[in-house]
């Protein structure tokens, strides 16, 4: 075989292979693994021949390198600017980006020789200048080499990118549609098949049906909603399914079970047949909306319109309706009945035919005006009835507005008021008549509105109140005219009227000219249907004349009563039948009974039970016969005693002699009645008295003589008219020194000093006694021995039965001792005042001394002390024993001076200051002092007992000083053989306790006691120890300045209190402090 010829022959498979065949032929294959075309095996040539001549896109991987071949049909799949031309390139190099996917597939086919098939597989690769998503349907199948082994893979493929994308878009649009259906606001549902399986039901449908998706979806609709079966729906839907004709209905009532109960819904809906691809009906689409609400509203409107028309036909008025422009389009039945017209005649403006021509013009003008301005129309005019007569009608037309506030129609009524007009004319007539009557009777009338309290009064009413010229009286003004005293009468009458319906009262009114008038108001209350008072209507009458008359009567009666009440007699009246109806005050005062008591149980209760029977008999006799009543009987007084009374009653008769009343009096005749008895008794008593008196007179004379004789303190003598002594007692002898014998018959002027005698004092005293009956004098008198004595003298004139002066008694009392005492007292007082002023001076001096001592005296003293200590310290060794002793004494003296100054300062500082007082617990004060003195207390083995101390209003630091002084006093004067006990306690006492004679009896005191069992002191020093610089002991025994207790006293006095001391030698001392409780 010749290779050349073979070669030519061999290239036969490329002939007519198109563009790709040319590429294969022109390529230099010598450099590839396949080698020259001439050397290619038959199997490759054959396979390529098939591929290149196929119109179906094909690809071939051949040999170990999987060299790529493809045909013209495949070429477009590689796109522009892609892998083409890939002929002769290695498969792995050409399909780098998808080798992961196709590499294993090729391997699989090469090894198993079984084809691999994919449909619409996404295999993106590079073409058209970019990576593209490309869908393929392809098959890898084995290609055999000459040796019957698989030597390549043939790929048969078609690009399905366009198909896949189109399908995807379709699916998307379908899903959008579904979503749209599902979300549509109208109900849309699709039922499939002859069983009407629910395929889609949107949420509006589900809501309408009252079902959930699970309850209806993929179920036969009539199984899911069995209530529809009986309602003809099944027949309708079935009709559509068989005929293909659309069904539509509006306002169809359908009953559906919602929330467990059957509801009627109104629905607008349509059924439409759905066709499958073959054009047969395979389903129904249902579209619908619920119009229940609209249907109900429409129904209601219709019903209300019908009701309105029925009502309009039934009202007694004529009624009609017009368009906004006044075109009347409807009249009620009454209109036609009354006018006898037909709707055709009346329509629009046809109504003018039933009007009176005389007023028609005015009616038209008014009506057109109303239409123009949109305001209501109201007018009275006549309308002609079917019988040809005119009657008066009140016509009212109101605009009816639509929801935008525009007039959409007019509604008119015509009311027959002919009868009313007639009635009101009659009323007017009546009113005129009534007014004429009222005027004649001079009655004022009023109408009071009880809601608004507006009052409408007649002219006469105003006249009574002094209002003229049309002035109006308001209710408020009316009330102000009432006399203040009568306002209550009016208010009570009004209150009662609201309950009973009748108003009636009389009252005074004060007119504007201050004159008074009397009125009588009578009226009735009118109520509404709820029984609420709405008005009061009534009359007012001027009753001044009558009233003034009755007032006069009243005043007269008042006067009578006043008069009767002022009489001490009992006065009473009775009616003609004998019933007592008035008693004066005296009756009540006497009997102690109240008017109520007498009215209740009768006057007879006052009469003595023994007199009652006869009394009643006599009274009845008098009343029946009309004769005067005269009777003596006993009345019980308020204290239970009975006194005789003479009662007399006289009938009062009118001019005709008829008894009007009885006027009676009862006079107390107890005295007269018992006079004779009394007189006799008194004479007896007097006689007895006289006898007794005589006896006692005798006795008393005896006694007198005895007494005068015995009295020694007084000189009692009797002088005759001339002043000569007639009688002389022992006292006279004792005081004046004369015996009776010596002096009787001599003038009393002997007892007077020469000077007094010269001044004629004795004579003057006698004259004084003559004139005034008595003369008194104090003065010096002379005894027989010539000594003077101070006498108090009383000279009394003595008269006989004829009242002639027969002499004088003279009583002289020796007051010499008293006079001396008085004089001494006066001297003492003077002395005291002097002492006081001295004391004050001393105090002042002390204070200035204290001031000086606080500053200037202290300085040198302190220095003396300091120098002394310096000397003792430094020069002790140089001093002799005597020197030391003297030094010691000097220091002691200086120390004493120091304490003196300190105490004086304390004393002078003890003045009270208002603000320093405060409520202080004495316990606390004393504790502080005990603490300060602790060392000394311990030294002396002393015990301080405190009990019952309380809070007191004091100056604290002064009391601290006080207790300090008292306790240190006790410590100082303690008995060395006896352990010291100091007891301090307090109690509340009243000043009236006898032991506290210096206290005010009506003040309460705190009594604070400080007692010790020390050496005590003699009782005579009780007061002295409080004096300044007073010391009871030598300085060497007990040191001290003598100021401590003076300070105590001053502090207590500062607190308005009192301090006293009681001492007993060897037993102890007690200090009592009294502070007023309200001490300030």
């Amino acid at each position: 075989m010749k290779p050349t010829s073979y070669n030519n022959n061999n290239l036969q498979f490329l002939t007519g292979g198109g563009e790709i065949s040319d590429l294969i032929r022109e390529k230099d294959w010598s450099k590839t693994s396949l080698g020259k075309i001439d050397d290619w095996p038959v199997s490759l040539r054959t396979t390529l021949g098939i591929i290149l001549h196929s119109a179906f896109p094909m690809f071939l991987f051949w040999g170990d390198d999987l060299v790529c071949f493809y045909n013209d049909a495949f070429r477009p799949s590689l796109g522009i600017e892609g892998k083409h031309p890939a002929i002769g390139k290695k498969g792995m190099e050409v399909w780098t980006e998808i080798w992961d996917f196709i590499g294993p597939l090729i391997d699989q086919v090469m090894t198993t020789a079984k084809p691999v098939w994919f449909e619409n597989q996404l295999v993106p690769f590079y073409r058209n200048g970019k990576m593209e998503d490309i869908y393929w349907t392809f098959c890898y199948s084995a290609a055999y080499g000459n040796d019957s082994n698989v030597n390549g893979v043939v790929v048969t493929c078609t690009e399905t990118t366009n198909t896949v994308l189109t399908t995807k878009k379709l699916e998307e649009s379908e899903s959008r549609l579904r979503t749209m259906i599902l979300q549509a606001p109208v109900c849309i549902a699709i039922f499939r098949g002859a069983d009407f399986i629910t395929e889609i039901a949107n949420s509006a449908s589900l809501e309408l049906w009252g079902r959930t998706e699970e309850e209806v979806l993929n179920k036969a609709i009539f199984e899911a909603m069995p209530e529809l079966i009986e309602q003809g729906i099944k027949e309708i839907i079935h009709g559509v399914f068989t005929s293909g004709k659309k069904f539509a209905a509006s306002d169809l009532p359908v009953q559906i079970i919602k929330n467990g109960k059957l509801e009627t819904l109104y629905i607008n809906f349509s059924f439409e047949a759905l066709y499958d691809a073959s054009g047969t009906i395979d389903g129904i689409m249902c579209v619908g909306t619920e119009v229940t609400e609209q249907v109900i509203v429409r129904k209601k409107i219709k019903e209300s319109e019908e009701r309105f028309k029925a009502m309009a036909d039934n009202i007694p008025n004529l009624a009609w309706m017009a368009h906004p422009d006044g075109w009347i389009y409807w009249y009620n039945k009454k209109w036609y009945d009354y006018t006898g017209t037909t709707p055709q005649q009346m329509e629009g403006w046809g109504w003018q035919s039933v009007h009176d021509e005389k007023v028609l013009h005015d009616v038209l003008v008014n009506w057109r005006n109303s239409i123009e301005i949109g305001k209501k129309f109201e007018m009275v005019f006549p309308l002609k009835g079917a019988d040809g007569t005119f009657r008066q009608f009140l016509t009212r037309v109101l605009p009816v507005y639509d929801e935008h506030g525009r007039i959409n129609q007019w509604f008119g009524t015509n009311t027959d008021i002919s009868d009313q007009l007639e009635t009101s004319r009659k009323i007017e007539d009546n009113e005129k008549k009534l007014n004429a009557v009222l005027k004649a009777s001079e009655l004022g009338t009023f109408k009071l509105d009880l809601q608004s309290y507006e009052v409408d009064c007649s002219e006469r009413f105003h006249e009574i109140f002094g209002y003229c010229n049309g002035e109006k009286l308001s209710h408020g003004a009316f009330l102000k005219h009432l006399l203040p005293d009568d306002v209550n009468i009016r208010n009570n009458a009004f209150k009662q009227a609201l309950q009973t319906g009748n108003l009636e009262y009389q009252s005074g009114i004060s007119l504007r000219d201050n004159s008074i008038r009397w009125i009588e108001i009578k009226g009735k209350i009118f109520y509404d249907e709820k029984n609420k008072p709405i008005s009061a209507i009534g009359t007012c009458r001027d009753i001044s004349k009558e009233k003034n008359y009755s007032k006069e009567l009243e005043e007269r009666e008042q006067k009578f009563r006043l008069l009767a009440d002022s009489m001490p007699q009992h006065i009473w009246t009775a009616d003609p039948q004998g019933n007592l109806n008035y008693y004066n005050k005296s009756v009540f005062d006497y009997s102690g009974l109240s008017p109520e008591q007498i009215n209740k149980e009768g006057w007879i209760q006052i009469v003595h039970p023994d007199d009652r029977e006869k009394n009643i008999k006599e009274w009845i006799e008098a009343v029946t016969t009309g004769k005067d009543f005269l009777f003596e009987h006993r009345f019980r007084r308020h204290d239970g005693t009975y006194r005789w009374q003479l009662s007399r009653a006289i009938p009062q008769k009118d001019e005709k002699g008829k008894i009007q009343m009885w006027v009676g009096t009862s006079t107390d005749i107890q005295e007269q009645k018992s006079f004779s008895d009394e007189l006799e008794k008194k004479v007896k008593e007097r006689t007895a008295e006289l006898i007794q008196l005589n006896e006692s007179l005798k006795k008393s004379e005896e006694r007198y003589h005895l007494m005068v004789k015995e009295v020694q303190d007084y000189a009692i003598l009797f002088l005759n008219r001339e002043g000569l002594v007639e009688n002389w007692n022992e006292g006279a002898e004792k005081i004046k020194g004369y015996t009776a014998k010596e002096i009787i018959g001599k003038s009393f002027s002997n007892f007077y000093t020469e000077e007094d005698r010269r001044n004629q004092l004795p004579k003057r005293l006698l004259n004084m006694a003559l004139q005034n009956g008595k003369a008194t004098q104090e003065g010096w008198r002379v005894r027989k021995d010539g000594n003077l004595f101070w006498a108090s003298v009383v000279i009394t004139a003595v008269h006989n039965e004829k009242k002639e002066v027969i002499g004088f008694s003279k009583v002289t009392h020796d007051l010499t001792a008293k006079k001396e005492a008085d004089d001494a007292l006066k001297d003492k007082q003077l002395e005291l005042e002097q002492k006081n002023s001295e004391l004050q001076k001393m105090n002042k001096a002390l204070q200035s001394f204290a001031y000086i001592s606080s500053h200037d005296l202290q300085e040198p003293l302190r220095k003396i002390q300091t120098f002394a200590t310096r000397i003792i310290e430094k020069e002790k060794a140089n001093l002799s024993e005597t020197g030391k002793d003297l030094f010691n004494r000097m220091q002691k003296a200086a120390e004493r001076m120091q304490s003196l100054i300190d105490d004086l300062l304390a004393y002078s500082h003890t003045h009270s200051l208002e603000g320093d007082f405060e409520k202080t617990n004495l316990n606390a004060v004393i504790e502080k002092v005990v603490q300060d003195l602790g060392e000394e207390i311990e030294q002396k083995h002393a015990a301080v007992h405190i009990k019952g101390l309380c809070e007191v209003n004091i100056i604290p630091f002064q009391f601290q000083q006080l207790f300090y002084n008292l306790i240190s006093n006790s410590l100082k004067f303690s008995n060395p053989e006896n352990p010291l006990r100091i007891t301090i306690y307090s109690e509340k006492v009243t000043g009236s306790k006898p032991e506290n004679q210096n206290l005010h009896s009506n003040t309460n005191y705190f009594h604070i006691t400080v007692a010790d069992n020390g050496i005590g002191f003699e009782p005579q020093y009780n007061e002295k120890i409080f004096e300044l610089f007073q010391r009871l002991h030598g300085r060497n025994e007990y040191p001290g300045t003598g100021l401590g207790l003076a300070i105590v006293k001053k502090i207590v006095e500062n607190h308005n209190g009192i301090v006293t001391a009681k001492g007993e030698v060897g037993k102890g001392a007690i200090f009592d402090i009294y502070l007023p409780v309200d001490s300030k």
Partner: protein, 148 residues
């Protein structure tokens, strides 16, 4: 006892009292130097001129002619430069009202001039010790008076 030298200033018009104070201080084992002025005017001059060498403690007599201790105290307390110097009032008087006034004005302690030398030493010693202990604040009212 203390290494620190204590600057003491005494203001007193009374020569005897000045002597007592000096003697007392000498006998006390206190490392202190004493300077003395005799009235209020001198005191103020001393303080103003010796501003760099102010005393650590000032003993001030209350009763002085021309310018009393109270006036000096008020003046010292008004001056920011030396109102921190502790002022101890030194006086014969024991008038509570005066003592209240001084305490309220800011005096640190109050000493009543004692009648014995022993007590004088005692109070000066206590005053110095107290001021060393408490350099700034005023003591409570109960501790105002230094007792021997």
């Amino acid at each position: 006892m203390e290494a620190e030298n204590y600057n003491i200033l005494l203001v007193d018009d009374d020569a005897d009292d000045c002597m007592f104070f000096k003697d007392a201080l000498d006998e006390l084992a206190v490392n202190a130097s004493l300077r003395t002025v005799n009235n209020g005017e001198e005191l103020m001059n001393f303080l103003v001129n010796g501003i760099n060498n102010l005393p650590d403690i000032l003993f001030l007599d209350f009763n002085m002619p021309r310018k009393t201790g109270f006036e000096c105290l008020a003046e010292i307390k008004l001056n920011e430069k030396f109102n921190q110097i502790p002022v101890i009032i030194f006086s014969t008087s024991r008038n509570p009202e005066v003592m209240d006034m001084l305490y309220n004005k800011g005096a640190k302690y109050y000493i009543r001039k004692p009648p014995t030398f022993v007590n004088l030493k005692s109070v000066i010693n206590k005053a110095i010790a107290l001021c060393r202990e408490n350099k700034i604040s005023q003591p409570s009212k109960e501790k105002f008076v230094i007792e021997p």
